[in-house]
Structure formats: structure tokens, C-alpha cells
Symmetry: C2
């Protein structure tokens, strides 16, 4: 009989609330014969305040043993900026070699896009997850003095770029429109840019059926708001992907709906699924958070583990739910989770 | 009697066309007693194809002698990406220590913003112009092999950050809303981020009348499309400023209207004014380019040289022209320049 052994990291702020709904829907959608086991990990701001730990080795080791990880959100204003991001969230992405940071963007019915004319939006950003300016490879000299020099090094390897570019081409080839756009800034960041562009062109030769395009990151932001329908699959580096996917979330109705997967396609380590949004401390604990992004992240998790039908059922449920939401009163976190759980179960 | 000694670099693509209109309006707005001298510099793609030169020392030296520089646009698909950007445009910005890259964003009447509801937009981005990931401080090891490593180093100094932050506070203090937002990514780029944030907080203490705010760059893109009215002055690094100002241009009706100044406020070197848009080779030479961004850049140039009344006259002319444009047929580059020249002269 089948089973899923899931690690759950609720994290901070609204993390706990949205994860509860994600698990509710996961339980509802799974066939009877699939045994779901979950283990919760107490990581995040409270743990750090209590013990000074962000992600101890023992827990990192234990997390390795699971089939996948569901994460709510990490971060709190009471913790110095960077401590939990670098010490927990990014540490997991790097330790488990999550080189595919998958972020689909879709404009669902009845969602309040800030864009006039409601363009068709249905693209996916394949963000590199283990290199670029995110490596923590920087430093500061004469810190705090008027002679301080602070550096941040973007590290890009042929190995790291090629594997994410290949993944993006494969994804593009499997989609109806078969279009892949590389986003970088190769007119300024010429070394990293040339590596990305050359790798992209090399792999493109193996995918004649995929039409390709290149955009500088600044120009890409323009098209995100003026012509988002032009995008199908986008591949880009860690930092550009971070920026573009928040913008993508905004134009598709807000980060309440944006799901993501930190994926290691080799299976060497568990992949991790999380909403794109943050911890929203201002609304935490009030039942106001929209759990849809987490529930859609559960769909990505299921797809990654081979439960394609169940993943699709969740996505259809969200789509149908939003289609009927029009004009209705705002619902609580719990009510949205309940509604989606009922839909996927039936 | 007063005089302006202006260097003009039309550059490539639509650069020549838009610069012609900029000069037309400049001539029309200047009082009779101001003597305007212009000298054109043949720099850009054609020059590079002809001679292999991007910006020879002699010309860099000669440019130093002018009061200011008006630049059209630089770049052409026939030139490898980065050659003209790094060898000419960025070389000028760095050689002349243009540490303030000033980019106002305003939603003028009747311009086609992609945002529903036409929010009030009137902010200015103070982008650092001489540091960050733009320093060209990178390299590539084992280039072209499967073991290539390409790096890009973002360099940030206390000296460089403080001067741009001070300039931004002074600008914010002089505006009615007196609000300054720092944009960075200090939860990931912790070394550069802390230098920026600490400097910002230090200078903020000297400006108690300015209200301050911090946003991560990814979150800032969300607010650009959902709540652009929240911004007054934004200060940010070279790369984030590049990305955000293209997005700002898009939400305020397109890069046909976005002006910029590469400013050295000390006066040690000439400042340089240019539209944010590129060379648009697809429409070059067809009279289709909108010269308004260049004309608004001329306004920034005049303000920088102390001609505040004339600068304001250009901005008012653009505003009035756009207000009356509604429903009218598209005009040629020349017609727009003519219309604005007539308005500023009267
Ligand atoms: C919290 C932060 C470190 C993270 C990132 O920058 O990757 C977040 O913005 C995201 O997009 O998942
Ligand atoms: C052409 C390019 C080098 C330039 C930049 O990145 O600064 C442009 O995008 C701009 O914003 O002026």
C-alpha cells in the first residue's frame, strides 16, 4: 500500500493557520489506501528566541528522511533580518539542493488583478534555487565605519545553470504553447549573463519544438504588466526569480494565491513546498489569512510525488471555488479550507 | 550673459530622432539671452562597427568640458550584448561619477496605464549609479567548459551609499509628502543590505520630518502595481533601481514617457540626461518614437543647471499636451516635438 511521510514546518505568523488548511485538504483528497504520516518540526522565530537555534544538524538530518516537506512561512520582525531567512529557509533550500524553485502563475476567475482588461495569465517561472546572489558569498570590511566596503557575490556554475535550464526546456516542451523565455541582465552582468545565455542556446538546439526568447529583467517587468499573456515558461536566476514571482503573484490576484515548490528532481533529498507569501504578522492568528496558496502548494507536492490526479483535483477545486466566490463575503481561513476540502473529497 | 554648452550623444536606433525633438523643445523654452551651444558626439553602434571604439579617451576628455550631456539611446542587436552598455553608457556614468540616477514617475492624464482604477502615481526613484552589481567586478573561470564558474560582485561602500541616501533624504524633505522608502533585499543580501539599512537609519535621524519605510525589492514590485500611491521618494541600489524604474515606467503609461538624469551633484563632472527607454530598433527611423521621455529629460537637465522655471514649463506643457491628446490620432515623433515646442514657447 502507498504512503506519504510528510515533514511539516508551520513556521511563524500565519504559517500555522495556512498549513492546517493545507493538511486538511491533503487528507481530504488522498485516496483511502494512501497512508499519510506527518511530523511537525518546531522551527522559526519562537524556537530561535527560546534556544538561539535556527536549524540544528539533528533536525536537518531528520528532515532528510521524509518524502517531502510542507512549509508555512518563516520570519518575524522580532528577529534580525536575515537570521531565519539564511539560517533556516535558505539553509533548507541549499542543503537539500532545491535547484528548481517552481512558481506557477495563473489568473483564476474572479480574483482581483490590478491589471485593467484582465489579460490571460498562465505561466510558470522556473527560478534557480541554489546559486546566484543567494549563496551568502559576501562580506563586509571595516564594518560600521565610514570606510566600510560590503560585497555580495553572485556565483553561477555551468553545472548549476545547465540543470535548471534543462528542466525548464523539458517543462516548456510538455506544455501546449511550448515557449521558453530566459530572463537575465546580460548587458550588464556579462559574466553570469553569458554563461546563462550560452547554456540556454546550447540546450535550445536539443529542443527545436520549443520557441525561445530572451529578455533583460527590467524589460521583463514591463511585459509582466503590459503583456503577461506572452509568457509560457520563464527560466531565470535566483534573485530575478524572487523579484519576478512576487510581481507575478501581484498581477494574478495577490500573494494569497501564489504557490511554490523547492524541488530536487533527482530525489536525493526531499522537496519542499511553500506559499510564496510571508508570515504576515499583522493578521496572524485572526483567521484572516488566505490558505489557498498553501493548498495550491500541496497540489504541487502531490504532483511531485506522482499523485497527478489528486493535484489536478485540488487545482480544479480552487478554480471552481473562486469562480463561485464572486460578490460573496470574505471568508475565514478555516472556511476556505473547509470549502476546498469538501470540493476535493467529492 | 548666460550660456549652456551641451554635449549631445544621439546614439543608436530611435536615439537620433528623439534627441532632435529634445533639442527643438530646449531651443524653444530657453530665454533669448541664454546662448545654447551644442556639440554632437558620434558614439554608439555605427562608430563601433566602423572603428571598434566605444568611448576613446580623447572623447571622454572632451565630454568633460561641457555643462551637461543629452543622450538618446545606446545599443543595437548587431553589437554583442554588453559591449556598448559597459563600454559607453556605463563608462560615462562611472567616469563622471553619476551617483544619482534620478527617475521620476508620474501618471499623466490620458496615458494608458495598464493598472485598473488609475491610481495616483507621483514618485521619484533615486537609484544609486556607481556601485552595486554594476561595477563590472566579476569574472569567469574555465569559460565555455562544463566546469565554468561565473561570478558578479556587488560592491557597496559606506561612502557611496551615504551620499545617495543623503541626496534622497534631502529630496524627500523638499517634497510635500516627505516620505522616503528604502528598497533592498537585506534578508538575503545581508552584508550590502545591512550597510544600506544602517546608513539609511543613521541619516534618518537628521531628518525627523521625513517619514521612512523599508521594503524588500520583491515586495516593492507588488506595491508598484497594487498601491503605487504609497510611494513618494524611493532610494535603492543600482540593480534594484534599474528593475523598479522600468516597472514604474510601465505602470505610468510606458517607457515613452520615462525621463532620467545621471547626476553628479558636486558639479565635478557634467551630468547626463537620457530617456529610460532603449533604442527600439524595430521602429527606428519611422517617425513612430515618442520623444516625450527625452523632452522630459531635457526638463531634468534644465533644472539641474538652475533653469527651474523653464524645466517646469516643459513639464506643464507635457501634462497639458497629454490632457488634450485623448481620442486623437497617433502623432509622429516630429509632431509631438512641434506641439511641445509651441507650448513651451508661448
Ligand atoms: C524570505 C526570502 C528569503 C525568500 C526569498 O528571497 O527567496 C522569499 O522572498 C521567497 O521568495 O521565497
Ligand atoms: C542599457 C542598460 C545598461 C541600462 C541599465 O541597466 O542601467 C538601462 O537599462 C537603464 O536603465 O538605463
Amino acid at each position: 500500500s502507498r504512503s506519504i511521510d510528510l515533514a511539516v514546518i508551520p513556521g511563524d505568523g500565519i504559517g500555522q493557520e495556512v498549513v492546517t488548511q493545507g493538511l486538511k485538504v491533503l487528507n481530504a483528497v488522498l485516496p483511502q489506501d494512501v497512508k499519510l504520516e506527518t511530523k511537525e518540526y518546531d522551527l522559526g522565530a519562537q524556537r530561535w528566541h527560546r534556544t538561539g537555534e535556527t536549524l540544528p544538524d539533528a533536525e536537518l538530518e531528520a528532515l532528510k528522511g521524509h518524502d517531502a516537506i510542507l512549509l508555512g512561512a518563516i520570519g518575524d520582525p522580532s528577529v534580525p533580518s536575515g537570521v531565519l531567512e539564511r539560517g533556516l529557509l535558505l539553509k533548507l533550500r541549499f542543503a537539500f539542493d532545491h535547484f528548481i524553485n517552481l512558481r506557477p502563475s495563473k489568473l483564476f476567475p474572479n480574483t482581483a488583478t490590478p491589471l485593467a482588461g484582465r489579460p490571460e495569465i498562465d505561466f510558470v517561472v522556473v527560478r534557480e534555487g541554489t546559486e546566484g546572489p543567494y549563496t551568502g558569498n559576501g562580506g563586509s570590511l571595516r564594518t560600521g565605519t565610514e570606510h566600510e566596503v560590503a560585497t555580495e557575490v553572485s556565483v553561477n556554475t555551468a553545472y548549476g545553470v545547465e540543470r535548471v535550464v534543462r528542466d525548464a526546456f523539458a517543462r516548456a516542451a510538455a506544455r501546449p504553447r511550448k515557449k521558453l523565455t530566459l530572463v537575465h541582465k546580460n548587458n550588464v552582468l556579462v559574466y553570469a549573463g553569458h554563461l546563462w545565455k550560452n547554456t540556454f542556446d546550447k540546450v535550445a538546439a536539443e529542443y527545436p519544438e520549443v520557441s525561445t526568447d530572451y529578455l533583460h529583467v527590467d524589460a521583463a517587468t514591463i511585459f509582466f504588466v503590459t503583456q503577461p499573456e506572452r509568457f509560457d515558461v520563464i527560466v531565470t536566476d535566483n534573485l530575478f526569480g524572487d523579484i519576478l514571482t512576487d510581481l507575478a503573484a501581484a498581477v494574478t490576484g495577490g500573494i494569497g494565491l501564489a504557490a511554490s515548490g523547492n524541488i530536487n528532481p533527482t530525489g536525493a533529498f526531499p522537496s519542499m513546498f511553500e506559499p510564496v507569501h510571508g508570515t504576515a504578522p499583522d493578521i496572524a492568528g485572526q483567521g484572516k489569512a488566505d490558505p489557498t496558496a498553501t493548498i495550491l502548494s500541496v497540489a504541487l507536492l502531490l504532483r511531485h510525488l506522482g499523485y497527478e490526479a489528486e493535484a489536478a483535483r485540488i487545482e480544479e477545486a480552487v478554480s471552481a471555488d473562486l469562480a463561485e466566490r464572486d460578490g460573496k463575503q470574505a471568508r475565514t481561513t478555516d472556511e476556505i479550507g473547509d470549502a476546498l476540502a469538501v470540493r476535493v473529497a467529492s
